[in-house]
């Protein structure tokens, strides 16, 4: 049984006077114990909202949740707020995008680490400070005892993200959700942070749900990848399978849009045309159709199903999938599970 099983998750924001906006439209994916799973997509595809919904951090008013998200057998979406509060920090933890704005500017780093130790592990005073220093040391912050007394603005960007990671792993959670943890950082620091996450996950057996728009991050870290488009998973595969044979035209376009150093001089970049705003309702057909080079009238006849067009375990939601060379006609087997 997977550690986290998200099944047909929908998130709808009540529109004030306008029609409701469905940010996430039936997303399903699993995260196994100790597995690193990527949730990939461009801005606005619903990946961040998904993570906030799993953490129970969406506002109660104006947001409707549907489907299930079973974590170790309990549905996170219907869990009472008080129970969720106990799970957060201990079982589930999260790392956010912008480390500076994610840290309280007027509270010393030390207090921001020890408060979680006090809350969940009952540690106070000297014991808590020692453990906090140990945690900072473990995420690679030099001179941790001195850093405990400092404030976020006195730390560098990479150090701040390390401190946030220290807080997230303070109670050895079973699932860590990282929402674009490297986006706000310099490239050299990005690599260090990813390395650190990988190390922690390997050592502790923590499962990691990595939310990113950066395919480089996916390539370096994730075992299983789910590509999101307009609130639905459009492709789900192992990392190798995805990079070798991107099957949904969107995933294909994403990989194709990466500039390559070995490309011939003067070759134009290949962006996916349009933006995520050029979409149709999933109910009417494939939301990607208006931007897709392969679309046919068939694309506009209801939501395409998630199928395994060429390889078992490699799922794509497309009626005109991109098939790897050598693959025979699409098998169109209905995906299971």
């Amino acid at each position: 049984m997977p550690l986290l099983s998200v099944d047909e998750l929908t998130i709808t924001f009540a529109g004030r006077g306008q029609r409701d906006a469905r940010a996430v439209d039936g997303v399903s994916f699993d995260v196994d114990q100790g597995q690193v799973v990527g949730l990939v997509g461009e801005s606005g595809c619903g990946k961040s909202v998904t993570s906030l919904a799993l953490m129970g951090l969406l506002p109660g008013r104006g947001v409707r949740l549907g489907g299930r998200a079973e974590f170790d057998g309990t549905d996170l979406l219907t869990l009472p707020a008080a129970r969720m509060r106990d799970l957060r920090g201990t079982q589930l933890a999260m790392i956010f995008q912008d480390p500076l704005s994610s840290l309280n500017p007027v509270v010393p780093i030390g207090v921001q680490v020890t408060e979680i130790l006090a809350r969940h592990r009952g540690m106070r005073g000297e014991a808590a400070r020692k453990e906090a220093a140990h945690l900072l040391d473990r995420v690679g912050i030099p001179d941790p005892t001195r850093r405990l007394k400092e404030y976020p603005h006195q730390l560098s960007g990479g150090m701040r993200q390390r401190a946030l990671i220290a807080m997230a792993v303070a109670c050895a959670p079973r699932l860590l959700i990282a929402d674009e943890p490297t986006t706000a950082l310099d490239v050299t620091i990005q690599a260090q942070i990813l390395e650190l996450l990988k190390e922690l996950v390997d050592q502790e057996g923590t499962a990691l749900l990595m939310i990113t728009h950066d395919l480089g991050v996916v390539a370096g870290l994730c075992e299983q990848v789910n590509v999101l488009y307009a609130g639905k998973v459009v492709e789900s595969a192992g990392r190798r399978a995805l990079f070798d044979a991107p099957t949904h035209p969107y995933a294909h376009g994403l990989l194709g849009s990466i500039p390559r150093l070995d490309a011939p001089r003067g070759e134009a970049l290949r962006p996916i045309r349009g933006s995520i705003n050029d979409r149709i309702d999933w109910a009417d057909g494939c939301a990607f159709a208006p931007r897709c080079d392969r679309y046919t009238m068939e694309c506009l006849t209801g939501t395409p199903a998630l199928t395994e067009p060429h390889t078992p375990g490699h799922q794509a939601r497309c009626v005109n999938p991109v098939l790897p060379e050598g693959a025979t006609s699409p098998q169109r087997t209905e995906a299971t599970g």
């Binding site: 957060r88 994610s102 500017p105 408060e115 809350r119």
Partner: protein, 334 residues
């Protein structure tokens, strides 16, 4: 820290000197003068000249100014032309009443305003929020003296819950040490006198608190709403902290930063701006004294008062800056 204090206090010297020059130039332009005010309408020019000579007003303005500076060097603000008492003594007599009133009003405004603003923001759009927002608009709109009259008419005259004027019931046997009646009563153990002073304070303090209260409610509300949307509050929630920790350490502490600045500025205003409230309740503070001094063209008192208010503003702002450094490490002075 010490350097900041010293630098600010040094900056005060040119500020006050400049202010005093302006004051002398301006007062000299005012029609009438202390002599006319003392003698009344039927004064003969000879009488006026005699008094002006006695007060030193026959001298050119710059001579008067130099004499003022000379006295100031000895911390002597001169003698009131209205009462014949040293200005300094008049101030020490009248200021405690104003400070007591101003501080009480500010305590009311902060103790009521901050929680009200906070809960209004937490339950945005709820009945408490609507009441707080419209109530604070009303508080800003109603003239203070009008509110003072209403409070007095209702709670003092009609219902008789509170005394209607003064700082103390006449004939009460209270020992005076500092001039702050509530404090005196507590210091000497004369609790009945302290309580008597408190009942006298309630209505004028409520009237005076209306505007600062309204401002503090609004600022706290806006600030809390802003902070609630901050990423670090989400981080705190993601750690599964108790609600009380999230609210106290992460929301309120940040939300109060702008409110502290406002409290400082408002406090300065209360010290100089209680004139109308004091006259409605015959409170006998500096406000009513200054009103009389203006009528009497009492130059020494006016100059001394205005300079004192300037001093008070600077000192209060310095205190605010220091307090700010305590709660916000980003602006801490090293």
């Amino acid at each position: 820290m010490l350097r900041l204090v010293v630098r600010r206090l040094l900056q005060l010297i040119p500020t006050l000197l400049g202010l005093s020059v302006l004051l002398f130039a301006w007062l000299n332009r005012l029609p009438g003068g202390p002599a006319a005010a003392i003698l009344g309408e039927k004064a003969t020019p000879a009488d006026v000249a005699a008094i002006e000579e006695a007060l030193g007003l026959d001298q050119p303005v710059w001579v008067q100014y130099l004499r003022f500076l000379q006295r100031l060097g000895r911390l002597d603000l001169g003698t009131s032309t209205m009462t014949g008492q040293p200005v300094w003594e008049e101030f020490t007599r009248a200021f405690p009443a104003t400070v007591e009133l101003g501080v009480s009003a500010m305590v009311i405004a902060v103790v009521v305003g901050v929680p009200l603003g906070y809960f209004a923001a937490r339950r945005r759009g709820g009945w408490l929020d609507v009441t707080a927002v419209s109530g604070s608009l009303l508080g800003i709109c109603i003239p203070v003296f009008f509110l003072a009259f209403i409070l007095k008419a209702l709670f003092a005259v009609q219902l008789g819950w509170f005394p209607s004027f003064g700082r103390q019931t006449t004939g009460i046997d209270a020992t005076e040490i500092t001039g702050f009646y509530v404090l005196d009563g507590l210091l000497t153990g004369e609790f009945d006198a302290a309580w008597d002073a408190v009942t006298h304070l309630v209505l004028p303090a409520l009237a005076l608190a209306s505007i600062p209260l309204a401002i503090i409610v609004r600022m706290t509300r806006a600030s809390v709403l802003e902070v609630l949307g901050e990423d670090y509050v989400r981080t705190a929630e993601s750690k599964g902290l108790r609600k009380s920790t999230v609210r106290g350490r992460h929301v309120l502490r940040n939300a109060l930063l702008p409110v502290v600045t406002a409290i400082g500025l408002l406090t300065g205003g209360l010290l100089s701006g209680a004139v109308l409230t004091e006259s409605v309740f015959a409170f006998g503070g500096i406000g009513s004294f200054i009103k009389e001094a203006i009528d009497a063209r009492d130059y020494p008192v006016l100059v001394g008062f205005i300079m004192f208010i300037a001093l008070a503003y600077v000192v209060i702002n310095l205190l605010v800056d220091l307090a700010y450094g305590l709660i916000d490490p980003r602006v801490r002075v090293h």
